[in-house]
Structure formats: C-alpha cells, structure tokens
Symmetry: C2
Subunit: 647 residues, 2 copies
C-alpha cells in the first residue's frame, strides 16, 4: 500500500505554486521555529528524564500538561525527516540525531519508553488507558521512527521503538493476563499498520487489529467495558470525569460506546474519531495488498464509508472543518454547525482536518471517487493551509468561520497542547504523496491525479521510469498541462480528477474519444497517453459561486467559493467593520467581480472577489472584499433576508 | 406586598373561559391524579420515615432519586390548599390533614425536618448544600405551610416549619461557627420572604437576605467559595462532578459564579436562576412596604432588571420558554435558541416558565410596565397551559418548539423528578392573584388589570368593598366588558394593560378624554370610573401576525400568532406529515384565514388559523392548520427561503 508518507519522496514540487510556497516556508522557517518552541518549553530535553517544573503542576487531570510531550517530539522528528529529504539543513539534522540519542537513552530495561510515566508517575504505567495517552505517544514515536529510518537509512530510532512495540504487544491482547484495552486516543493503530507495511512486523499488525476489533466491547474485561473496569481498578469515583466528558461515562468521547462495526454516526473527539477510521481503512487496504485476513473486510469497509458519509454530509463545515463542539473538541449532532464559538460551535480543529485528508487519501485506495479527493482538497486549502500564517511562524488550533469579540480568530506561535503545528508540518512534509497515487503491474502503469499543482512524479515500472509532470496556476485557474514520459513497453493509464464543483465539465487537448469519466475521474487510456506525451486539461467551474448550507443547519448564511477556494470577508480589509460582519448580509443576486491581487511581500498572485453587501436592517451598501483566509478575522457572510436591488 | 399566592382568594373565575376551564380540570381531576401518583410512588408516606426500596438505589449522584420527595409533598399541599379554598373536596382535605400529621411526626428533636437525611444518610446533614436540596425542600415546605395556614386557619403545619426555620437560621449565617452557604437550588429565599410577609418572622427575612447577599462570595468560607470549601470538607475529588456540570467548578450552573449584583447575563439552571431573581425582586418590593433596609435597594433592582432583560431579549423562545440547554436544564449563550432537542436545544422546562410568571408578577410591583405582564401572559398560554393535557392527567417537562423522531413531544402522567406537575397545579391554584393587583390608601383605590378573562375581584377599601368584574372571550377576541362597584367615598383608578402586540391600539366605550397610556397601561381616572360603572375596552391586534426570530439566532423560522396565542402545526392534524414539519416552509406573503373550531369533547370554541405551506425543494402546496398547542407533535414552521406565489 502506497502510503503518502512513503511516496512523497517520488514527487518534486518543481515550479511556483501556492503549495510549493507554503512547503518552502515550512522547510525553511517553520521546522526551526517549532524546534525553538520545543527547546524553550522543555520538550526537547524531556527524554533526558530529568525533573522539569511543569511536572509539579497538578492543576490538570487526567491529562497533566506534559503528558503528550513525547508525541510532540515524535511528530517533529517525523516532519523534520520528510523535510530533510527535500532540502538538507544542518541544524535540523543535528537536532534529530540528538533527539534520537536521548530517546534511546530513555528506554527502560523492559522496553518501556514514556517520559511522564518514567519520571513523574512510574507506578502508574498503563493504569489509565482511557485518558492518559501512553499509547498515543507510542504511536507518534512509531511514525517518527518510520520517517527517521526512511531518511537516515539506519535503525537508531527504529530499534528501541520495535522493542517498545514488543512490550506493548505483551501487555495488550486477548490473553488472560493481558489488558483487553484500546487507546483512549486512537493513533497507534494507524502507526502500527504503517510499521507493519514497512517492516512486516507481525506483532504490529496483530496489535493494531486487536485494538480496532476490541474497541467498545461492552464485556471486554471481566464482563465490563475496559474503561469502566480500569476506573474501578484505580478506585476512581464513577463521578470523577475529565472536563471533555459532558456526562459521566460518555464513552462516545473516545469512540468506545460501541464496536466500530456498530457505529452509525461519527461521534466524540474529532481527531480521535478520524484517526481511528484511518486505521480501519488501512486494515481494509492492507487486506487487499497482502495483509493477514481478519474478521470481515466488507464490514470494515462499510463502517468506514458509513462514518465518512455521516461526517461529510452532516457534520462538516463548508471549509472542510469538522468538530463543531468546543467542549469535547468534537462532533456535534447531525447538522449542528454554528459558525463561531460565540454561537455555540465551530471548533474545527486543525488536526481534525489534517486527519480528514489522511483518511480521504486512504479511501481513494478503496474506491477511486472524487468525493474523497474533493474533500481532501477542500481541507487542504481551507482548513489546513489557513491554519498557518504566511511567515510560517503562527498557527491556529481552532478554525472558526466567524470571529467575535469574545473569541477572536487569531494565530498563536505555540500551544500548551501543541498537536496542531507539528501535525501541519508533517502533513506538508509528505504532501507530495497526496497529489497522486500510482502503480505498476504486468506492463500496465497508472497514475491517479488527485490534486493539481506544479509538480513531477517519477516511479518505477518494471525496472524503467515513468514520469508525469503537471504545470498549472491552480487553484486560481483550471488549466493544467501534463507531460508524460513512459517507456513504450509500458501501457500507462492516467486518471484526472473532475471536482464536483466543475460539474464534470472540462476541455481536453488534444481530445480523446476513448476517455471515460466515472465517479469524478477522467480516465485517459494508454492508447491516448502513448500517442500524446503532452496533453492539457482545463477544468471548468472557476466562476465565483454561492454556497448555501443545508436547511437543517438553520444557518442563514451564504458562502462564496471559486474553484476549490472558499472565500471570507476579513476585518483587516474592512476597517469600518466593528462586529465581525455579524450584521452584514450579502445576496446571491448581487454581482461578483474578480480581482487579481498580490500576496503582501511576495510576487504571488491570487484572485480576490468583490461583491456588494448591506448592513442588516439599515440598507447601507457596502463593497466587500472577499479573500482566501489570511488574517482570520472574518466570517462566511450572512444571507440577505430578501434581496432588494434598490436599497 | 400583595403576593398572588395570597390575593388569589379575592378573585372568582365566574364565567366560561379558557382559564376557568383549565382551573376546573385541575381542581377536579389533576389534584387527585397527582395525589394518586404521590401514593403510588411512595412519596405520600415518606414522612413516616420508613425504609423505601428507592433508598437502596445508588445509581444517581449527588441527587438520589428520592432527594426532593419532601418538596413534591410541600408543593402538592400548597396547591391543594389553594384549590380547597375554591372548591372543597373531602378526599383532598383528608390527605392534606394526614400529610401534615406525618410531617409533624417526622420532625427531629432539634427541629430538623428532611426525609432523606433522617432516614438514609443521617450523618450527612448540610454536607452538600450545593447539590443536595435540603434547603430547596425546606422552601417548599414553608410555602406549603403558608397555604395551609391560610386555608385551615391553624398552625399545625406552620408550627414545625417555624421551628425548622429557626434551626436553619442557626446553621447558616455570618457567625464564625455558622455555614456561610446558600442553597444550590434557590427557592427557600422566596419562601422565607413570603413567610416574613405573612408572619413578620424576622429570622425568615434575615436568612433570605443572607442567602441572597452571600451567594457567589468568592471568599465566603475560609477564603474560598463556599461550594469549593464544602467539596474539600467532604473529601471529594475536584474532578467529581454531577452530570449537569459541563466542566468542573461550573458554578454558574448554581448562579454562584459571582455575587448577584455582579452578574450581567442570566446563566445556568433556569428554574434556579429565575427563583433566585424572584427573591431578589421580593427583597426590593418588601423594602418599599416596610421590610428591613438592606445594602442597596437600587442595586438589587438594577440586577433584577438587567437579568430580566438579558433573559427576555436574548434567551427566550417565542412561546415564553426559557432554558435552551438540556444538559444543565438551563440558559445557553445569547441568541442560542434551536427549536428542538434534536437540533441542540429547546429544553424550556415547564417550571422555568412558571417561575418567569412569578417573577413577572413581582416586577409589575416594582415597575408597572406591560413588558412584564406581556411575558407573564405569553408564558401562561404558550408554555404553562400547554404543559398539561386537556384531561388534566398528563404533563410536559420539556417544551420543545419542534418534535422529532428522536425526541417526540409527548406528555407523561408523572416524572421521577416530579417538579413540574405540582408546580403547574399550585400556579393555577393561585392564578386569580396574577390577573390583577389592587390597593387602597387614603381614600384612593386602584386596580391594575394584567390579564383579561371572565372574573371578579373584590377587596377592602377603608372598610368598604370595591368590586371589579371583567367579562370577555379573551384570548380569542379583544373585547372586555368591565363593571366596577365602588363606594362613592373612594376614588378608584383602573389601569388596563395594552399588550405590545396591540401596538397600544384600543377602543374604549364610553370614551375617556382624561385617560392616559403609559408603559403599556391605560389609566382610567376616578373621574371616569365614578361616572361609568360599566365600560368596555376592545384591545386591537387580533389579526394573525407573523413573527421572525432575531437574526443572531440563525433560526430560519416564522411563527404565527394572534393576540397572546402562538400557533403551531401539529402532526395530529396533518396525517400526511412524516418528518414533524422539518421540511415544510411557510411565507409571510401567504394568506392566512381564521376558522372557529370547538375543542374536542367540549363546547369550548377557539380560533384556528389556516395558511399555505410548501415542502421545501419540492414545491408542493399544502394547506396547514395552525392551532394553539394541543397534542404537542408539531413545530413552529420554517420560513420559505424565497416566496414564489406560482410554485
């Protein structure tokens, strides 16, 4: 299975583009800015197992402030290794080596490898699987080790990690003396499946499968749900509960309210929920590509699709943000999608949209359908890229559609719970792997192009190279030029995504009469590609369009989009605005004009939109400038209650 | 201060009317149906202090299922005594006497009088003031004793209650050995102020004042908020919290996040919040009528008005329901008013709207303004009367605007937490006191008429009787005939409410040139009333009207009203409907016709409305019958996205 975290290396971003600019910023600035944050906060040295003042802080329960420091390091190593592959940096290289040394030195005799439960509460290992992130941390260390091995071609990190996995495998499982548990925060499942794919380590596969299958078993441990059982073991009152649990025993917060095969709606903490689904999808994909058989491939596929559909159709913002509810950083009920936290919703965590991209990429392997790739692209441009400032130094955690005085949408240079910034870094580090997937078998090669940008991919086809280049000004216009170089002994099929908003309309030059379009992908057969090494597609649908939310959302709003970009109006561009556009309305009857603009301080162009709005109940005409999200002090605009061209 | 729970005796409902019909049902059916529920559930005998199987149920914390049984008895006694006054019933009379005997026998040597903490947890008295309802129960016993004394003219219940109040007074207060606490569920404050008004018992006044002033003191006990202090005394983990606390230390649930004078928005459990405000208003009213002076009358008045305004302007449904949030049975953020629990809101507890009526009545004494009486009437017809079935045997607790398959709006014959049914009974028992208030001083009498119905009030004016009768078909039309009989030695001023929806328009016959209209009340001077013993007012505004919610609510709905009645469409009247009208829209451009109908099984008339609606996105025309809420399977209808008369 071609994980994007592996195949990214085959892609070069070889021309000016929005993605390349952000990727460059991340590899030149962000990776070091985050390294500085790791050093300043004490995380960098945590594997030295020294005492740190933060360990004295007992104000948080059950998640002390340093509980997931291990994962911050793991994610930074993972991202740094992807970026090193693309452009070497001595400071980053040195830091990775130092960190690996420290991690190696922190491993206990028996393989255990966790800072908090070695330094602070050594007697509490594995005592709170529900809340305390030991397995989550392990998962990110595994992913870090995989990237490290890819780049450094050695096992300095992999070796202790494999030892740790062996230990974990011995602790968890169906055996009588084993814990019948599954992580409160899914992550290790997908990491273990990547590990299995890279190393063939059977323990990794079995453990991931066990975690997925055992999850939500109501009688798993001594006839009880594991989390209830372990709560009693700890002697906790059943009324003790972490802040994100809206009521006692809200096991849906952890997706443990039912086995995954029985879940009909996606619930709880959004990152946990989507990470779990990624692992479910991986299990199905691996089954197709040589993994061990397990209970029921079809059932797991159905579960993944059911929950994907519920998420996308009923619980996703127009930007690809998911997780309306701040209280549990997660999904609300169907169609409950308020625009701002001051209206009761729109948490839309950055990590959650990154996870949606990862899941979409997996789903594309199970079912080539542009509905997955459309969402992947939607998230990328409107919920993930927007989560970082132009200079690469500031980030969002929450991605509201509407700013307010009570909770202004602004970026920060770091967070106490610092999951989002390094997640964004590692996503961009492996972004090449999301653009396309490819394969070769029996003299037939294929490339499925999911995302358009200026880039080149090269892969092996029976000992020879296939190269596909694309060049485009996407996302600002729909024209994409391709150049394919493939050996004549190989039949090469190229599939091009036709986004839903294009309504399947495109122009291909030279034309191809054998081309077929199915489920949002245009297939160019080898008879065509062998004749036309260069071809050009123009995807239609780059006119500005208005988007209305589903009526059940009760959101009386109107969004504007153009191609894959969702626009917003920002306070920064409208100095007259005092209430974050809460009283400004637009109408889909108003004219919209396009305007070429330049990103401040660069020669990068983008397309802004301009329309007329009104202040509600006042009838004052306003010229509104809509831009892709930049300063983040804006909102999706409200819909005019009725349109009156004369007001 | 003329509490409606005292003055109700001066009013006779002397003709056919919607209110009289419901009142009669309550006194003939409901009071006995509830008595049966008390007997069947074990509540009736609870003051015998025997063990009951429910006491073994430890599944609920910190509020065991029987914790407020005392209050159910107190409320039933209170309501029963009001109803006995109006129509004697031997069964009810016998039950009240038996209950009083049992209560007397349950009092402990030192005056303590609480079932749960005598039978089940005798060592835990006063240990959890935040959650465990001892003071709430005491409050309802006080109110029961007040009604009992009024009807029976003896102190059989008042005597033990006064003894209990003395004990409570000794436990709570500013003294060094006293608890600096205040009830988690406000209620006793308003009960104590009624007790003070009725008996002059200074301890009652002082205790109420103390509870109100001390509430939310961040340094009240040993430099801490009392609730934090007592939690530590109990040895509870700070992470133990009851289900309605969305996060640890959510003291706003109990209105203890700040002293009442510093609160700017109404927060938390809605019944608690409004009961507290009633007591605040009482404190201000009593100050005007001979009560003891206290810190600052003006500040308390301002607090009551600030929180009233926040509630009515930003947190109230079109029906007068308050408390959008099911999780804590209380107020959500400003403008957060979803229509159904399946949309994230609309708890709108019956007791909360009853409390709003009680508060409105108090506010009218502080400021004669129809904005209070309008809300009182809105609640009465649309959130309180609707909470009982026509037959008087079934009730709602939650009053959604929109039913759904997940949570159908239906009535039940009883509830485990049975606060609403007896609350409705005692409200109707004392309803006469809400119709009007009156007074006499220095040869000048006045009657302020707040609610129109067919009724008569009689009161003493310097030893002589003043009688005012009104006769009307309200709420179906606006014509009201008055007959005033007053001694010639008394100048009588009559003030008539002009509801906001009438836009102050009325016709008076015979006309009065000296009449003044101010803040929604028309004042008829004694020069007029002395000449015209009979006069007739016709309040305008009985045409059907459409109501749109504030745009910040994001509710794309359109309500229909006529006079004080809010209409809804009900599943029961539309057998074709399968989704509780979620997909049906109406337009304020459509014609609305009126239709006289008869309540099933009676000869009582009402006005139904009829308009045309569409199924959204389908363009199917539908004739919709809108009725005042009856079977409760309907909703306020959605607004048409755009009106097109041709579809």
């Amino acid at each position: 299975m071609p994980y994007p975290q592996v195949t990214y290396k085959d892609t070069v971003f070889n021309g000016p583009s929005l993605l390349k600019r952000q990727k460059t910023t991340i590899s030149q600035v962000t990776v070091k800015a985050q390294l500085k944050q790791l050093r300043d906060s004490g995380r960098y040295d945590c594997f030295k197992l020294q005492w740190h003042p933060v360990y004295d802080d007992k104000s948080m329960w059950p998640v002390p402030k340093s509980l997931f420091w291990d994962s911050d390091i793991g994610k930074w190593i993972e991202g740094a290794c992807y970026l090193l592959f693309e452009s070497y940096d001595a400071e980053v290289d040195t830091a990775v080596r130092e960190l690996v040394d420290m991690i190696r030195s922190a491993q206990q005799e028996d393989g255990y490898l966790n800072v908090y439960f070695t330094v602070v509460e050594p007697d509490a290992r594995w005592s709170n699987i529900r809340d305390q992130h030991e397995l989550y941390n392990a998962g990110h260390l595994i992913e870090g080790a995989l990237a490290h091995r890819e780049y450094y071609k050695n096992d300095l990190l992999m070796e202790p990690i494999l030892k740790y996995v062996k230990l974990i495998r011995s602790v968890f499982g169906p055996g009588q003396s084993q814990r019948h548990a599954y992580p409160g925060h899914p992550e290790i499942e997908l990491a273990l499946l990547r590990l299995y794919h890279a190393t063939g380590e059977q323990d990794a596969y079995d453990l991931a499968q066990y975690f997925i299958e055992e999850r939500g078993n109501p009688n798993g441990q001594d006839g009880q749900l594991y989390y209830d059982w372990e709560e009693k073991q700890r002697g906790d009152s059943p009324w003790m509960r972490p802040d994100p649990y809206p009521v006692a025993h809200a096991h849906w917060y952890n997706q443990a309210h039912a086995p995954i095969l029985q879940q009909k709606t996606i619930e709880g903490h959004s990152v946990r929920a989507v990470y779990l689904l990624i692992a479910v999808a991986d299990l199905v994909v691996l089954d197709e590509t040589g993994g061990k058989p397990y209970r029921s491939r079809d059932e797991y596929l159905k579960a993944a699709k059911t929950l994907w559909d519920n998420m996308v159709d009923k619980k996703m913002y127009v930007t690809g943000g998911v997780g309306a509810i701040s209280a549990w950083e997660g999904f609300g009920r169907d169609y409950f999608l308020p625009q701002g936290t001051n209206e009761g919703g729109c948490y839309a965590e950055t990590c959650a949209s990154i996870a949606v991209m990862m899941l979409a990429e997996r789903m594309l392997h199970l079912e080539l359908d542009s509905r997955y790739a459309d969402i992947m692209e939607l998230c990328l441009y409107n919920a993930v890229m927007t989560a970082m400032s132009l200079d690469g130094r500031e980030f969002t955690y929450v991605n509201q559609l509407a700013s307010s005085d009570e909770d202004k949408s602004v970026r920060h240079d770091w967070f106490e719970c610092a999951c989002c910034p390094p997640n964004l870094m590692r996503l961009f580090g492996s972004l090449g792997g999301y653009l396309w997937d490819y394969g070769y078998r029996d003299r037939v090669a294929h490339v499925n192009v999911h995302l358009y940008t200026t880039a080149k991919v090269e892969f092996d086809a029976g000992g020879e190279k296939v190269t596909l280049e694309q060049e485009t000004n996407w996302p600002w216009d729909g024209n994409v030029s391709f150049r394919l170089v493939a050996p004549s002994s190989v039949d090469t099929v190229v599939r091009l995504r036709l986004p839903a908003w294009s309504r399947g309309e495109f122009t291909l030059s030279p034309p191809c009469h054998d081309a077929t379009a199915e489920r949002g992908y245009l297939t160019l057969p080898s008879s065509y590609t062998s004749k036309h090494g260069s071809f050009e597609v123009t995807i239609h649908g780059f006119e500005p369009r208005h988007l209305s939310p589903h009526p059940y959302t009760n959101q009386n709003s109107l969004a504007m989009a153009r191609g894959p970009i969702i626009y917003c109006v920002e306070d920064a561009d409208h100095p007259w605005e005092e209430n974050h556009f809460r009283d400004v309305v637009i109408s889909d009857q108003s004219q919209v004009t396009e305007e070429k603009r330049t990103v401040d301080g660069t020669d990068e162009h983008f397309v802004a939109l301009r329309t007329v709005g009104w202040i509600r109940d006042m009838g004052v005409n306003l010229i509104l400038n809509l831009v892709e999200s930049n300063t983040l002090q804006g909102r999706i605009v409200n819909k005019a209650p009725e349109f009156d061209a004369e007001t």
